[in-house]
């Protein structure tokens, strides 16, 4: 079964939702009669168990890392604790990580630039330099979690959700790994926000307007995907639209994903749609997401 992804773990750590179950709680049907045990048990298999807490080892590891690494660690750790993933017993040598961030380690880059310009760089900080490297986040994550498959740090490209999902499909289809963790992570940065303010007001770049509309969030979303061996296996299956196929269908329910400065915003919408799909289990139609890039091109994603 090619070009499909089976979700086996989901982790969320954002300023609004510190764990995956808090987002699920926000989406739950209001009336208890509407909620079926079966639906919720399906969701429970994908998110960390009730009472989950990050281990003391994880807490101690992240104490010396950038805030943006904290978020990624928390989200990945939750996804790895999902029952659905644990039951698959996948070797960490056959696991890949695809990490995507809009602003990456912006604070460390700015800290390094400060130290570089101060005193002509005599005290330029090697630690800030190492952390300013975009892939340092993913490097810390693979070291902590012991992941030995391909580890790719991707930039916020035109389709921050569909892009890394399509890459995850390729990694699995070409047998580079048996499971792929896709992690979106972002942090706020005062200077970045100020630059965005200038981009909107002086350069007429509306895609950065979000920064002016209210307080900025931060956080991370992590999802673990495996191959779909059979459509009858159940669970949540994602279908990132192959580029070649013309999109002609009418979406019965669609969730627009507009281009935003934070990749994690779009990933959070995806997580909400996945949970909605499970919670609305008696609704036969898939959920379709449409992601529009800043240049207007669209990518489609079906949650089957």
């Amino acid at each position: 079964m090619k070009h499909l992804l089976q979700l086996s773990g989901l982790g969320i750590y954002t300023d609004q939702f510190p764990r995956a179950d808090t987002l699920a709680a926000a989406l739950k049907p209001k009336s208890p009669a509407e909620a079926s045990v079966k639906k919720h048990s399906a969701l429970n298999g994908l998110i960390p168990p009730a009472g989950y807490k990050p281990s003391a080892e994880l807490e101690s590891q992240i104490s010396s890392c950038d805030p943006v690494a904290h978020y990624a660690f928390y989200a990945i750790d939750q996804a790895l604790h999902a029952e659905e993933f644990s039951s698959k017993q996948i070797s960490f040598e056959r696991m890949a990580l695809v990490l995507l961030s809009g602003w990456g380690t912006m604070d460390s880059t700015m800290a390094y630039l400060e130290s570089m310009f101060d005193a002509d760089g005599r005290y330029a900080s090697p630690l800030s330099f190492t952390r300013s490297i975009n892939s340092s986040l993913a490097s810390l994550a693979v070291i902590h979690f012991g992941i030995h498959g391909p580890c790719e740090t991707l930039a916020h490209d035109s389709w921050p959700v569909a892009g890394p999902l399509e890459r995850a499909v390729d990694i699995l289809d070409c047998d580079h790994a048996d499971a792929v963790i896709v992690c979106w992570t972002d942090q706020t940065s005062p200077i970045a926000m100020d630059m965005c303010r200038q981009a909107v007001t002086k350069l007429h770049r509306p895609e950065f307007k979000r920064f002016l509309d209210g307080p900025c969030g931060y956080g991370s979303v992590a999802m673990i995907f495996g191959r779909v061996e059979s459509l009858n296996t159940g669970g949540v299956i994602l279908d990132p639209q192959p580029t070649k196929a013309p999109v002609t269908r009418d979406e019965p329910w669609s969730m627009p994903l507009d281009f935003k400065p934070f990749a994690t915003d779009n990933a959070l919408c995806l997580a909400a749609a996945v949970m909605q799909r499970i919670l609305n289990g008696n609704q036969p139609a898939p959920i379709y997401l449409c992601e529009t890039a800043h240049h207007g091109q669209k990518r489609y994603l079906s949650i089957l």
Binding site: K2, H3, E93, L97, G102, G104, L113, E114, M116, F117, D120, G121, R122, A124, S125, P126, F129, T130, S132, I133, N134, S135, S136, A138, S139, L140, V142, I143, F145, H148, G149, P150, C151, E152, T153, L154, A155, H156, D157, S158, G163, E166, R167, V169, D170, I171, D173, C174, D175, H176, D194, Q198, A199, L203, P242, T243, K244, P246, H295, Q297
Partner: protein, 424 residues
């Protein structure tokens, strides 16, 4: 290693390359094979303590005719470099008219189902940092008076956007930031997308440009060789920082055959694996570096003894070169005679970080096409502990297969396998 799925050969039908040796594949290859010394202090703004460091800087970049000076002069240097390489690669590939790109007659038409979209797979590390540095220096003095043009280059995806818009590349786009293995991963990702049937043609490679942050940052880590690197030398002092870009036009073998394209060579295998060991140092045993090389060779359906040339990562640091030599001996066999002729070309091109994988892929393809092995320049007395069959000067020798290895911060390891013919 288990069963390794076979890797369908991918044809390389176009090549663009800009290095300190020259701004075309021909100029670069000529400089590399003649081991031309090009290292010199950077022309950019550096404090006194860093101004003596020799780097590998590209010659002045000519402005493409279609980019007006008011745009060209505000582009980040990485964007300028990829523009030059993309023009060269796509022009050399001579793609048919049903593929939209700026050299085709149908380039202004919107993509339709009849037109094959071209994917764009890029890698960079510094992105638009040369412009961001200028912006930030001014921002510190007065935030409202900082030059806003620099702000336009802040986001990494700007590099990709420029290329996809200019060349009408409407297929999947991908920007990898995994430092020194970035462009090897971008080439691997492009091959995967072709194998999965998403596209038939892709432009893939990497770019990085010199900036103050890069020179100052690596100097702060104390790994820079001020007078140039000496890969696998007994007294190797560290890396040479460089800039450059290389882009490859990749096609499914079937697509290339149908249009009677003449491939420069073929990509036959790719693999990546991660040490998960240390953020800046490689695992000294190179277990996962070896795994990446072995898997790539196996996916090509080859045995290690069938590899005719190895382009090593060979940065010239003590840690990298020791680990790499140990890994090569483990993969290819501990007997000296069994090891493939090996060279690192980083003294000649500098360590171009995210561009290194693509530049070294281009070097392997030219070595296969010309039947010449490029030299391991810079090494005066080879380190007996490394004990590799280094190519001391360019050697004319017909070869059929080559491997390029790249290793990066965070213990990321990649290997690409190339062949002269589809079944070599």
């Amino acid at each position: 290693m288990g069963n390794i799925p076979p890797f369908e050969p991918i044809a390389v039908t176009g090549l663009g390359m800009a290095t300190a040796q020259g701004l075309s594949p021909q100029e670069s290859w000529q400089g590399i094979t003649s081991a031309r010394e090009v290292l010199r202090p950077w022309e950019g703004d550096l404090p006194q303590e860093l101004s003596h460091i020799k780097v590998a800087q590209c010659p002045p970049l000519p402005r493409p005719w279609d980019l007006p000076p008011r745009l060209w002069n505000t582009l980040a240097r990485t964007q300028q470099l990829v523009c030059i390489c993309a023009d060269e690669a796509l022009s050399a590939a001579n793609l048919p008219d049903n593929i939209p790109h700026r050299f085709s007659h149908k380039n202004r038409r919107a993509a339709t189902p009849q037109i094959s979209p071209v994917g764009c797979f890029l890698a960079t590390t510094v992105c638009g940092m040369d412009r961001t540095e200028g912006y930030y220096a001014a921002y510190r003095r007065n935030p409202d008076a900082a030059p806003l043009d620099c702000l336009r280059r802040l986001q990494p995806y700007e590099i990709l956007s420029l290329l996809t818009r200019r060349h009408h590349l409407t297929g999947p786009s991908y920007l990898n930031l995994t430092t020194c293995v970035g462009s090897a991963m971008a080439i691997g990702a492009a091959c995967d997308a072709i194998h999965c049937g998403k596209i038939d043609v892709a432009l893939a490679g990497g770019v990085d440009a010199l900036c103050r942050l890069l020179i100052s940052g690596f100097n702060s880590l104390r790994v820079v060789a001020a007078d140039g690197c000496r890969p696998f030398d007994r007294d190797r002092p560290g890396i040479t920082i460089g800039e450059g870009a290389a882009l490859l036009v990749l096609e499914s073998h079937e697509h290339a055959r149908q249009r009677n394209a003449k491939p420069l060579g073929f990509i036959r295998g790719f693999a990546a694996a991660c040490d998960a060991w240390h953020v800046t140092k490689p695992d000294p045993e190179g277990k996962f570096a070896g795994l990446a090389i072995s898997r790539a060779i196996a996916s090509a359906g080859l045995a290690p003894e069938q590899i005719d040339y190895l382009n090593a990562h060979g940065t010239g640091t003590r840690d990298n070169d020791a680990m790499e030599a140990r890994t090569i001996r483990r993969v290819f066999g501990d007997e000296f005679e069994k090891l493939p002729p090996t060279s690192s070309t980083k003294r000649l091109t500098g360590h171009t970080f995210a561009a290194a994988g693509a530049i070294e892929a281009a070097i392997c393809l030219q070595a296969l096409a010309h039947g010449v092995l490029p030299p391991n320049a810079g090494s005066i007395e080879p380190d007996p502990e490394c004990n590799l069959p280094l190519v001391t000067q360019a050697v004319t020798r017909p070869i059929q297969t080559a491997v390029s290895c790249n290793f990066a911060f965070g213990g990321n390891n990649t290997a690409l396998v190339f062949s002269r013919g589809e079944n070599s």
